[in-house]
């Protein structure tokens, strides 16, 4: 019954989306107010019914209703509640259901927060949003109905892959999808602007918070996924340049570029057609990401839906959306006149360079991801570029990008004083060089590049702090006044400082953990010892443990080192009951200096002579990566709360409302 209600709700949501797609667009062309007001109403209705459909599916999972096919295939009655719920989006049908629900949510948010938008712009944005939605509703209803019933109802479900039963992964897809779908708003704004033939600073001010919101979600989503890979897979890695990881990284890179180029549109009324293009590309990458995951076109651990019919549908849909947008762009972009000019050394050109490097980075990832497919389709050769290719390219791409980041934040708009900035930055350039040399000294005999990268990352870190102290006039005016300036800084500039600071901190973590990690393994019996770096591990005991839906062996290991008190580590190796599969639960001791990561394997041999394969990793500064990412997200959130961007707030309305209404 509930499943059928869900199905009807989904069909009703589709009907409302059809209305939302057609009438506001016609209304905007004819300046028909009544038709345009259908937009927000339909958007609210669509959200209501798609949420109802989604909740109906969640209900089927919680109740373990195995007469519903997706529940039977993906759930199990013994699973903890959290994973019953996260199981909803752990499969093809459910994840698409979540996709459209989020799309409808963002549509409703544009309807609500965009009440102060010019009516025609809002109508067109909502209509484009609905056009995208139509494709997804059709896809769901025609090829992947989540509410299909089974004729023979099984007593028990197939269970969710135990690897996916982890809090990090439970929330990873929703955040990633919020990010993907969030970019649809920037996309809809871009298409609406192309139709209207007008992009102005006010447009950029509306687009920026939406992009920022999507960027924050995307960042959280990517980091959660990476964090999951690190803790759960027990392989000591956190990023593998897997096609699906790349699929989430590409929109992130472009969204980051878009965030920066939209600032130029807002402040300087230029770079318009480039910004529009970025908005289209960012969302195209989101769709491409969905396609790569859902079609199995590129062999990947993640590509679990290998169904060419579905792939065909998504491909045609992609062709319509992306091809159509690029065609519209080609035909209409010349309508957008460029505004202010700027000198080669200025904040604008710094941001242009930033955009250039980020776009190149995205293009590199796109090339690397599609390479196996392209070489197969074009030349009939099977080949792939692996992680070494990406690591090499990104290693070198980071250097100019980060150097310009450190420089650009000191530049003024229009024309910057290169000499003054250089003089100001001499000291921190020296400090970073010193940092690089010290790194070289500490890791004496090691490779040189990590020291170079460390110097670059420190350069950015110092530069951000220096820029902040300039703004606060730290040490040049009394501390009390500096503190007052501290409080008066607009939140968006805190966002900038924190975003860049987080990036540099994360970068330091990445450099350290990928350059200087240690790894050791040994087959150990009780009371055996092994050493890694400064740590000595003793296997005290191994005991069996029973969990809610798994049984496990747990190692009890004493870890001792020179400068820290001994502690006990409890790594586990779990075997799940519903699907006979083993996962590792590594014991991770995290400190600012590094993570000690211990993994235990199954018993080797039998009886009293049991021996266990123990793997240990030491990951220097690993936690800096997560801290850096958290700071970036925090920066995004603080910037989002800036009064100037609090969309629909009365103060904002007066300021930004007036210029936009003048047609």
């Amino acid at each position: 019954m509930i499943a059928e209600l869900g199905h009807y709700s989904l069909i009703l949501a589709f009907g409302l989306t059809l209305i939302q797609a057609i009438f506001p667009m016609i209304g905007a062309a004819r300046h028909d107010g009544r038709m345009m007001t259908l937009g927000p109403t339909a958007a609210y209705g669509q959200f209501f019914f798609s949420l109802a459909a989604f909740l109906a599916l969640v209900y089927c999972y919680i109740m373990s209703d195995f007469s519903v096919a997706v529940v039977a295939h993906n759930s199990h009655s013994l699973k903890p509640l959290l994973y019953k719920i996260s199981g909803v989006w752990g499969n093809h049908e459910g994840s698409l259901m979540l996709w459209v629900m989020f799309l409808a949510l963002f549509g409703a948010m544009v309807a609500y927060f965009g009440r102060n938008l010019p009516k025609t712009l809002q109508a067109r944005v909502l209509s484009v949003q609905a056009l995208v939605g139509l494709g997804f509703y059709l896809f769901l209803l025609l090829t992947s109905n989540p509410f299909d019933r089974l004729a023979d109802v099984p007593f028990e479900g197939n269970g969710l892959n135990p690897l996916l039963q982890d809090p990090g992964l439970a929330f990873h897809p929703p955040f990633l999808y919020l990010g993907y779908v969030g970019l649809s708003v920037a996309f809809s704004f871009a298409i609406a602007a192309l139709i209207e033939g007008k992009v102005d600073p006010a447009w950029a001010r509306w687009v920026r918070p939406w992009t920022l919101l999507a960027w924050v979600f995307l960042t959280i989503g990517i980091v959660l996924g990476s964090w999951w890979a690190y803790y759960e897979l027990g392989w000591g890695g956190w990023w593998g340049w897997d096609p699906v990881e790349n699929a989430s990284f590409m929109p992130w890179l472009v969204a980051t570029a878009l965030l920066h180029s939209a600032i130029v549109v807002e402040k300087r009324d230029t770079l318009k057609s480039w910004t529009i293009l970025l908005a289209i590309i960012a969302f195209s990458f989101s769709l491409l990401g969905t396609f790569i995951v859902r079609s199995g076109i590129i062999t990947s651990v993640h590509a679990f839906a290998t169904d060419p019919k579905r792939g065909m549908f998504i491909l045609l849909f992609l062709a319509l959306v992306i091809g159509g947008s690029f065609l519209l762009y080609a035909l209409r972009a010349d309508k957008l006149q460029s505004g202010g000019l700027f000198a080669p050394i200025s904040r604008e050109s710094g941001l242009v360079m930033n955009n250039l490097f980020l776009s190149v980075a995205a293009a590199v990832v796109l090339y690397g991801t599609l390479h196996p497919l392209l070489s197969d389709a074009l030349f009939g050769v099977k080949s792939s570029v692996g992680a070494p290719f990406f690591n090499l390219v990104f290693g070198y791409l980071t250097i100019p990008l980060v150097m310009i980041m450190g420089l650009g934040i000191h530049f003024k708009w229009k024309r910057a004083d290169l000499k003054g900035v250089t003089q100001r930055l001499m000291a921190i350039a020296g400090l970073s060089l010193l940092g690089a040399l010290m790194t070289l000294y500490i890791t004496y005999g090691g490779k040189i590049m990590p020291a170079v990268w460390m110097g670059i990352a420190l350069w950015l870190l110092f530069s951000v702090l220096q820029e902040l102290s300039v703004r606060l006039k730290l040490f040049r005016i009394p501390l009390k006044q500096s503190l007052q300036r501290f409080k008066r800084q607009p939140r968006s500039s805190w966002g900038m400082s924190l975003g860049h600071l987080g990036f540099s901190v994360g970068l330091i973590g990445i450099i350290a953990t990928s350059s200087w990690n240690l790894e050791a393994q040994k087959v150990m019996g009780i009371a055996d010892q092994m050493t890694i770096g400064d740590f000595t591990l003793t296997l005290d005991d191994v005991i069996p443990v029973a969990g809610p839906n798994y049984s496990a062996v747990r190692g009890i290991i004493t870890v001792s080192s020179k400068d820290k008190p001994d502690y006990k580590a409890y790594p586990e190796s779990r075997t799940y009951i519903s699907s006979p599969m083993t996962t590792t639960e590594g014991a991770v001791e995290t400190t600012l200096a590094g993570d000690l990561f211990i993994v235990i394997g199954e018993a080797q041999g039998g009886g009293a002579t049991d021996r266990f394969g123990i793997r240990v990793y030491y990951k220097p500064l690993q936690v800096w990566l997560w801290i850096g990412a958290a700071i970036m997200v925090l920066g995004g959130l603080i910037s989002l709360s800036d009064r100037r961007y609090r969309i629909g707030s009365p103060q904002g309305k007066k300021k930004k409302g007036s210029p936009s209404h003048a047609h």
Binding site: I297, T299, A330, D334, A377
Partner: protein, 180 residues
Amino acid sequence: MLIKRFLPLFIFLGIFIAFMTGLFLNPRDIPSALINKPVPELSLPPLQGAGIGLDTADVTAPGTIIIVNFFASWCGPCRVEHPALDRLSKIPGVKLYGIAYKDRPANSLIFLKTYGNPYDKTAADLKGRNAINWGVTGTPETFFIKNGIIRYQHIGPLYEAQIDSDIRPMILKLQQEDPS
């Protein structure tokens, strides 16, 4: 100027065409140059100890269907594939051999301890030399051999569903061929 505006569209069309061809080319179903050819020479040490792990005699043994699977502990898809191999090894009348590709034997052993060992015999291809002779494009990759002739090559991970839908019928067909 006009060309510049159309550039994104053209690039997209190029990628789109590649996708179209890609969708109809099954990436795991490419014909190999070695299909219906005798297996290349093989002589590999075992994962543990000295001597011979796998040699040409093993993989050319007449009568049975011999499956050679290239895997590595560092390879993510291999972990995904593992339950499928388990099922594969239970099909009657087949022998499943595993070759650890460019992998430290200690790591391979831990991998097999952690996820279970479905193989009848294992060997280590430390440098990946033998894999080159076999035309391996990456891990995991699986070869199906009868009477010393490679009959089928599967690129990428095997999924459990595939075992029943594709692999088992294919093996049955090979087994029913007249023993010439």
